[in-house]
């Protein structure tokens, strides 16, 4: 491979032959069904870079809306060489024994974790998957770790309650879950929580030094970064308890456990 070919790797969507660029799109336009609506759909397809594009299905939904399915070739090229491998886990995955050992060695006491599903969200399956002994995907949850003390506040917990409990328990980390995303509920609630903790621990230099580590989780945080929300870390779909426990050790007890991952 020459230096040149190594530095670019142009790819396009693949329908049934290399480079054909074919994609499928569907959407609703708030206009009555008809030729003009179809023209508007093609207009949108063109704006999205589809050329040529075919409206393969147009269905009136009542007098004011039309649903479209469009197939077409996108003109966009992706230089795959310029898409870096996203950073993987920046810390090693530890076993329960390693985690317990690290906590005992570094803290001399149990690590305190307070978890909740905040706001009006009542979806506890996700946070329970991380916290409950029962766990997730065959892994035991944080309650199973001898050196981690878990307080699971359950669902629909107000930020004030969470803050009070975190203080009362001397939480090292606060874990919040958000599943409902309609009208960006998950983002608003998490930001509100982060702001409350920031206000409550104004002098704290950062997580572990005064204020608890703030961890958010849920299936649809993929459009934002932790910094956007004011938290220390976000976990998404499919997270397993060991990932979370290992992160806690990494973030809170930087000296311990590093480099011993499996």
């Amino acid at each position: 491979m020459t230096a040149d070919s190594a530095s670019t790797q142009i790819i396009r969507p693949y329908g049934d032959t290399t480079g054909d660029g074919m994609v499928q799109v569907s959407f609703t336009l708030p206009v009555p069904h008809g030729l003009r609506a179809q023209a508007a759909a093609l207009h949108l397809a063109a704006a999205m870079g589809l050329e040529p594009a075919s409206v393969v299905h147009a269905k009136p939904m009542g007098p004011d809306f039309t649903f479209f399915i469009v197939y077409g070739r996108v003109r966009h090229l992706i230089d795959y060489a310029r898409i870096p491998e996203p950073p993987g886990r920046a810390y090693p995955l530890l076993t329960a024994a390693e985690i317990n050992l690290a906590v005992r060695a570094a803290l001399g006491r149990r690590l305190v974790v307070v978890g909740a599903c905040i706001g009006t969200d009542a979806h506890t399956v996700g946070i329970d998957a991380i916290l409950n002994v029962k766990g997730f995907a065959g892994e035991k949850g944080l309650e199973y770790y001898r050196e981690i003390q878990v307080v699971n506040m359950g669902a629909q917990v107000a930020v004030e309650e969470l803050l009070a409990r975190a203080r009362a328990e001397g939480a090292d980390a606060v874990l919040v879950s958000q599943v409902v995303t309609q009208r960006n509920a998950h983002l608003d609630n998490t930001r509100r929580m982060a702001a409350a903790f920031a206000a409550a621990y104004p002098d704290a230099a950062g997580p572990g030094r005064g204020r608890p580590l703030l961890v958010a989780g849920g299936p649809r945080f993929d459009t934002v970064t932790a910094a956007d929300l004011g938290v220390d870390k976000i976990f998404g779909r499919g997270t397993t308890p060991a990932e979370v426990a290992s992160y806690l050790v990494h973030a809170l007890l930087p000296a311990a456990g590093a480099g011993e991952g499996r």
């Binding site: 939904m61 009542g62 004011d64 649903f67 009006t120 969200d121 399956v125 669902a155 629909q156 309609q182």
Partner: protein, 527 residues
């Protein structure tokens, strides 16, 4: 008759056990009241509206009574006594004055008590008469406009804004929905008051308010007339205000209400006693209003495994049935819930679903069963989702379900979009037309996989009911029997709103409803 070869004696035994398990709870409900039960009486008597901050007048009034005389005697006597003896032109003025701290309540005695009792009784009777009128109106519309045959197609709207909900609900009706449910904003169930007015600010659902009920029912009446088919409206009598919402539903001619004996406990962490007491009153109202209730067993299968926990669904249905019958609901009003939630990766998953669905069908032959679509195993692959929903629709047809909630291919992603709903309706329309009477040709092999599975689930249900009879239902709930969620009897929200009825407790609504079971209405309730 039974396609599954069920033993009628086993079913009868299960019912006897359920009645025994329910008895202590019923006794508790008959001997306690709650803030919401008392407020419901005030609503029935015509008190509505809220202060400028949005707190309803019924809350102000009931709170004032509680603070001064307690609610263990019921609010009726103190309130109507205050009306009869004070300067207040009516309930609303009384409530405003009470909110301002300008009313002194007492528990009347002797002739005063008798007078207050008569006045309260008349007010409650008038309220029930309004509910009866709405019921008669429904019966008339069903006759005049037309009542769609089972299975009814049930669709959810969830924009959070009643003014966006309305056109979407009308569109859904035009595309074939027989029932429209407006789901509630997250958080409403934990409010200890019912919000007021038309609302536009719900999260993933729209607030249940009297005005929203009225607006939506009117919109659906309009579209019903247009379509020549009465489109039913559903909401949720659930959460801390279950009795009041049931009352509002009766007053605004809602047709079905989600109303489960344990959902609030398990999934909203509402106190078990509060829930069971509220539940009894709300069901008495539903019975009177000719409203079909929908129970929530489907929810268990979102937290518990649908195969392992299949028998908990049956047990809960039997309990819901017992509580409902006791509260005066007819079989035709029992929209018992269950769901298509078995992991599609399991071998024979569809046949397991058929076993469960047919079992429920055979155990409750006269109930308008409500069948819920897959939710838990719906991911981001919308094509796979569309497919799974189709098999759900098919299972519904093959096992003769009555009310079919239409699944959305985007269940794993977002609340339904307009187009999701339209595609979902195309899905069910195809399955219904193509496979409509396939139930005729569905004959599980005697002693085959399906029949054996159904019988096994029934046997497990009997075992579990025996355990519940021994330990008590509250204990079973505390143990995580339902939805693998543990809820102790004294935990959860709303226990402070519960009071044991004192001697001389008086609530004219309960008196009227207890005295006159609505069983004679049965004939009028379409099944």
């Amino acid at each position: 008759m039974s396609k599954l070869g069920l033993d009628p004696a086993t079913a009868a035994r299960a019912r006897r056990l359920a009645a025994r398990a329910a008895e202590p709870i019923i006794e508790m409900a008959r001997t306690h009241t709650t803030m919401s039960v008392e407020r419901a009486l005030l609503r029935l008597a015509g008190l509505s509206g809220a202060d400028p901050g949005g707190m309803p007048w019924v809350n102000h009034l009931a709170e004032a009574v509680r603070a001064q005389v307690g609610i263990e005697h019921g609010v009726a006597l103190p309130v109507w006594d205050a009306l009869l003896t004070g300067p207040h032109g009516g309930l609303r003025e009384l409530a405003e004055a009470a909110a301002a701290g300008r009313v002194v309540f007492r528990l009347p005695e002797g002739a005063d008590a008798a007078a207050a009792r008569r006045a309260a009784g008349r007010a409650a009777e008038a309220g029930l008469a309004r509910i009866d009128a709405r019921r008669a109106e429904r019966d008339r519309l069903l006759r005049e406009v037309g009542d769609p045959p089972h299975p009814w197609i049930y669709l959810i709207v969830a924009t959070g804004d009643i003014h966006e909900d309305i056109p979407q609900a009308q569109a859904a009706a035009r595309e074939g929905a027989d029932v429209v449910a407006v789901i509630r904003s997250t958080g409403q169930s934990l409010l200890d008051y019912v919000p007021e007015g038309a609302t536009r600010e719900g999260y993933a659902g729209t607030y249940a308010t009297q005005e929203n009920f009225r607006l939506m029912r009117a919109a659906l009446d309009e579209v019903s007339a247009e379509l020549g088919r009465y489109v039913r409206l559903t909401n949720y009598a659930s959460g801390l205000c279950m009795p009041e919402i049931a009352t509002l539903a009766g007053l605004e001619r809602l047709d079905m209400m989600l109303n489960d004996c344990m959902y609030g406990i398990v999934f909203r962490d509402i106190n078990p006693r509060r829930t069971f007491i509220d539940q009894r009153f709300s069901r008495q109202i539903h019975a009177r209003a000719g409203i079909v209730i929908n129970t929530g067993e489907d929810n268990y299968l979102t937290t518990a495994d649908a195969v392992e926990a299949a028998h908990t669904v049956i047990v809960s249905q039997l309990l819901n049935e017992r509580f409902a019958h006791e509260a005066g609901l007819a079989d035709a009003q029992l929209g018992l819930g269950h769901a298509f939630e078995i992991d599609p990766a399991l071998p024979d998953s569809f046949r397991l679903e058929l076993a469960h669905a047919q079992l429920v069908r055979e155990l409750f032959p006269h109930a308008p069963l409500k069948y819920m679509p897959p939710t838990r195993h719906m991911g981001g692959n919308v094509f796979a989702g569309y497919l799974l929903d189709a098999f759900f629709n098919l299972a519904g047809m093959m096992t003769g379900q009555s009310i079919i909630l239409i699944g959305m291919m985007t269940e794993g992603i977002h609340t339904p979009w307009l187009a999701d709903r339209d595609l979902a309706l195309e899905n069910v329309r195809y399955v219904r037309a193509a496979a409509g009477r396939l139930a005729e040709d569905f004959a599980p092999r005697p002693d085959g996989f399906i029949a054996q599975r159904a019988r096994r689930v029934l046997a497990e249900s009997v075992e579990l009911l025996e355990r519940i009879c021994d330990d008590g239902l509250l204990h079973a709930i505390a143990d995580g029997t339902f939805g693998v969620t543990c809820r102790p009897p004294d935990g959860g929200r709303g226990l402070d709103g519960v009071a044991e009825r004192a001697d001389g407790y008086y609530n004219p609504a309960i008196e009227l409803l207890d005295g006159r079971p609505s069983a004679h209405h049965d004939a009028e309730v379409p099944a």
